[in-house]
Symmetry: C2
Subunit: 200 residues, 2 copies
DNA sequence: TCGTTCAGCTTACATATGTACGCTATTTTG
DNA sequence: CAAAATAGCGTACATATGTAAGCTGAACGA
């Protein structure tokens, strides 16, 4: 027998999962309605309020979870980088895997980054900032450049990665390979250029 | 006295202008309703149908107009480039001017590029593709590199430009200057890197 | 000049939404 | 074991939406 608290936590999870499932290629956080989420979660519309004050609170929760998934991805990538393969190749491959089989999660970030809610946009921007900062750290350690210079490079790289990720959402498997290779070359441009223009 | 045809063209224009005005930082093409547009244009909801079959048709029209504005921007930038200043500086400055004082137009492209309508996404992608193609031409002429290599470089640059444009929408005047300078350096990375890795 | 066309209007309806209110059944607490 | 708390439900209402149907007056073509 489950405690009341535990049961509540589970239906909260059900709501969140249902929302993620609704966020396909034709829905965003602002277009899904409370009733729609409730329907998908198998609860009464009014029961939703037992878990969230309003639907924006759900939205912020989803963005947080998506950001967490991204940070976990980064950790995994860094482990693989430590094991030998080039940083660019591994990062790109890991990222593309993410956009592929967690497409709804990545799409959420992508969409709300340019979405209609200032709060969501800010939340996503924060997550991307983490992404950039950690890459900047990595670059600074490896190349011995000033922090702001490493940041410049990291930011450019992350932006290209996200752009390619966006395209990958509309691509099939073979197009994704092409996309990944193109991205790797472009990241190499930045790495090479940043190195050539490095301040002394 | 105005001809009936001319009057119709004018209210069509009124509708389009009203829609652009509605597309501020908290609205996108899918969130504006037919009735809202009609209200803003000062016509009855049902009169809308005399000009567009549905609201998606309006949306595509807006994307087309936005793309046209962008192409005009490119032309202007190329003229100024011909008159001496560096390509990167002029392009960035022109672009930033665009995102600043035609913010609703740029935001439309940005938002629908990652939006919920596949048709709108495709339409915006086409416009961006034009943007990339023309820059690739420019690069190929100046640097004498293969077409696909110039494309690689142009694509990376345009992606950075658009990303910075997105950020500029949330920035004030002084932040925009910082943003522009950062972008210019990053574009230089790509130019330098692409040159260093140029195939022979 | 007179019948035709048609942009724009008003009215109307079926549908979806957010959320207030109060009930019930079950768990929790004292 | 009785009393309090509470997750979830059903009902209800005010509001917004897309769009069908039909009318009107002004521009148009003969």
């Amino acid at each position: 027998m489950l405690s009341r608290q535990e049961k509540k936590r589970r239906t909260r999870r059900t709501i969140i999962d249902a929302a993620f499932r609704l966020l396909d290629e034709k829905q965003n956080l602002s277009s899904i309605s409370l009733r729609e989420v409730a329907r998908a979660a198998g609860i009464a519309p009014t029961s939703f309020y037992r878990h969230f004050n309003n639907i924006d609170e759900l939205g912020l929760t989803l963005v947080d979870e998506a950001g967490l998934a991204l940070r976990q991805l980064m950790r995994q990538a860094r482990i693989e980088i430590a094991s030998g393969t080039g940083i660019i190749n591994t990062s790109v491959d890991t990222f593309m895997l993410f956009t592929c089989d967690q497409s709804n999660v990545f799409r959420l970030l992508l969409r709300e980054h340019a979405g209609t809610s200032a709060a969501f946009r800010a939340a996503v921007s924060r997550e991307i900032q983490h992404f950039i900062d950690e890459l900047a750290d990595f670059i600074r350690n490896g190349n011995n450049v000033p922090a702001d210079y490493a940041f410049l490079q990291a930011e450019a790289m992350v932006k290209l990665v996200f752009s390619a990720g966006a395209e990958s959402l509309e691509a099939d498997q073979s197009q994704r390979v092409v996309l990944a290779n193109r991205l790797k070359k472009q990241l190499l441009f930045i790495a090479k250029g940043a190195d050539a223009l490095k301040p002394r």
